[in-house]
Symmetry: C2
Subunit: 122 residues, 2 copies
């Protein structure tokens, strides 16, 4: 089972470029506090919707031990990314993430130059 | 269980920007041919490594019905993305993907401007 509220929603539609993607790829620790992680992820997923320029978020998590989780959040501009980066609850969650949940992660902030969709309401 | 050979490897390290990310977010059909899909995914995952400028690929797939799959492939430049886009076996797989496997997908091609890593050998 997934541990993220949005797994069955999406994918986020293609938007008119340019826009920005924040790719967050992570491996969690085996001894993490999963309940606290889930609560925090659900809370952040609600909070980010209030950031001006937020376009959507996609999430996938392979369940195998050591499996990757990938979240991709889309924003219209870098200002939205900065606001989200500096949001107090997000800052606190990132600190707890480094202390408790993540074995490792990589973040890529990228300017989307092309996008297209197949099928569905995109 | 995962259906992709690379799920327990990664994440791809942060590289020196600029580089490019191809984000492929998909929902598969419930009646897909899973064996053919898996074979093709494994074959493509080997082929892409021979593309000049290929930097790595991360994959995650939430197992719930309707769960998203996200793959992110990283390339040094757009020329590598074009070569991969036009690779004959990749073209054939994309055609079969639209005909057989995918209910919908969205592709975002993005220029990575910032990246950083926490933990692990990155």
């Amino acid at each position: 089972m997934s541990d993220h509220p949005d797994t069955t929603v999406g994918p986020t539609p293609a938007h008119e470029p340019p826009y920005y993607a924040v790719v967050f790829t992570s491996v969690r620790r085996p001894d993490e506090d999963a309940d606290d992680y889930r609560r925090t992820a659900a809370r952040l997923s609600r909070l980010v919707r209030d950031i001006p320029g937020f376009l959507g978020e996609d999430f996938a998590h392979s369940p195998a031990p050591g499996g990757l989780a990938i979240s991709v959040a889309y924003f219209r501009d870098l200002e939205g990314i900065r606001r989200w980066r500096d949001h107090p609850e997000h800052l606190d969650a990132k600190r707890r993430g480094r202390e408790r949940w993540y074995e490792r992660y990589v973040i890529h902030i990228a300017r989307v130059e092309h996008s297209h969709a197949f099928g569905g309401p995109a």
